[in-house]
Amino acid sequence: MTQDAGGRLLRVNLSTGSFSQEAVPQEVREQYIGGKGFGIYYLFRELPSGVEPLGPENKLALVAGPLNGTTAQSFSRWIAMAKSPMTGAIGRAVGGGDFGAWLKFAGFDVMLIEGRASRPSYIYWENGHGEVLDAGDLWGHDTEETQVSLASRHGPRTRSACIGPAGENLVRYAAIVCGRRTASRCGMGTVMGSKNLKAVAINVPRQVEVARATEFSSLVKQQIEAYKPHPVVSRMNKAGTTYAALVFHNMGLFPVCNFQRGRLAGIEKLAVDEFAKVKVGNFGCYSCLIKCGQMHQVKDGAFAGHRSEGPEYETIWALGGNLGITERDAVIAADSMCDLLGLDTISTGLSLSFAYELYQRGLLKRSQTDGEEMTWGNHQAMLRLVQSIAHRKGLGKLLGEGSLRAARTLGNGAEYYAMQVKGLELGGYEPRAAKGQGLAYAVSPIGGSHSYARSDQEIAGDSLPRVVDRFADEGKGDVIAFNHWQRSVGEAAISCIFASRATGRELTASLLAAVTGIDRLAGLPYLEKVGQRIATLERLFNIRHGFGRNDDTLPRRMTTEPLEDAGPATGQVVRKLDTLLDEYYDAMGFSRQGLPTADTLRELGLAWTAGFMSARDNRQR
């Protein structure tokens, strides 16, 4: 145990096979904490405008948080960041399993991967030494086979994060997988594939530094005590997020058939108790008592034998109700396939629902669908197309580009039916039934993310900073800014979003201070400022890469079509998106054009960023 825990960066250049280490400067540790904070700090500085996301000049940051690998509970997720091949904006995906802890055990907060290997390769790190090794024999293998092979080759102490065939084939929304947990969004697995990088494998003993060990141990005991009676902990263990489908459906939040309506006949077939019937166990990330992962195995019928660590709510929705599918076992099979092939289930599901709706409207003919009858509820077609997407065959080649690019290729008004923001498909929360959530989608720097600034005041009844009427057209921009800051701190820490209620903000802050030895991290106002700094730097990254207010928008359906058949949300439409944007920008300290003002940059210690921005952007400020 030392007084100075954490703060190392490992730079790996795949073009040259070189490895080098750097200390993360103390002021960066204080101002950005770790996780997403470190990721955006380095990528902002090192990725100039014009970088091609799938070119060797893009960089992939795999980042841990300061609490990764410690005994603190539910802090073992990890984050992948790069310029996104889906959006051209900043990309970030959050993964689970063990990889974050192993990255930390290796002594690193950041692994920054540069260049491109000349042939399929993997990074192998063991006891202070790294190599870029040949992955020719792993190429083409699914994510489970790959991880088993690496553990067999290097020993059972090895943990890896890898891509599947989807990443190798440059499907734009490929995931990075550790165990059966995926860092799914924004095509971070695609960036790995573009670098000929099949996996990162780490073989090290379990050890991690804690600055103030006695205090830290006491805080962890407090955390575990707080977990015991907390209802979210027991509920997440019992059912994970499968619980959410029926709740959201009854609230009118569950989008059906590509956001055409909000009611699904047969939703009870996707309800929590149906998944409980085929549950065979629990799975958890490293150092997490909750073990929210629900292992499901289909026992009989057409999908007998399919086994999945999931599906979670988003997948039940994206590959189920979003496609009019209520066949539980088909959703489990699809979830399993996506994990093994290395696909983001949300973008897969919405690329498919985009195509299903085009088929419904006669804009896609059977001659274009590989002969598939793409009618709502056709789960057999869905399963075949998931395979086609991963292998870029037939219609899957087009859909593997994501809904926005596919729409632009097809033309003929198809873009209207692409349910995306900035090129990234939306999550499973209907924006017309929770208009703050609509704003959160619109302003998310990565595109249509459901979690970046999720409006839990509307969705789950949170009362901080205040209760919000989900149907109100305005007056919630400051709440979404608050959420954006809070979640940015959460992703710097990297706290699991499922467990954050049980741990609480105060205890999280104390744990951060104790593990790092940085006292000021114990203060909530200080952390809020860190969150604002990270969110603002992501905004600056996007401005540098050509984004602005016009990109902070929603699919036109949300602002023009009243929501149909959605229980209490029927008839709702997002009427005042521009007003909401103004409110959000005001709260963030941005101009009405969406640029952080000079005062905001000074206040957040970001004045240095002016040297990285174009003269035009600096003038407009």
Partner: protein, 85 residues
Amino acid sequence: MDVTVRVYGHLVDLMGTRQLTLSLPDGSALDALLSHVPTPEPLGHSDIVALHILVDGRDHRLTGGMQTPLHSGAVVDLIPPFQGG
């Protein structure tokens, strides 16, 4: 008047159903309904405070709190704390 109550999570286990209809005197408010919810033990203050309660889809704290007036055909959702995906 008849009011529909939908419950989730552990409340389903407690009540043995996801949905039921309660008959209440005309003019009843939310607090009256909660006192009639058939759980083995009456819902305590801490149980109720932890719930996300929707009346016709709206957060009850924005419609009058425990005094939110109910009408015949109203739908009340009682949602324990949870996390989405």
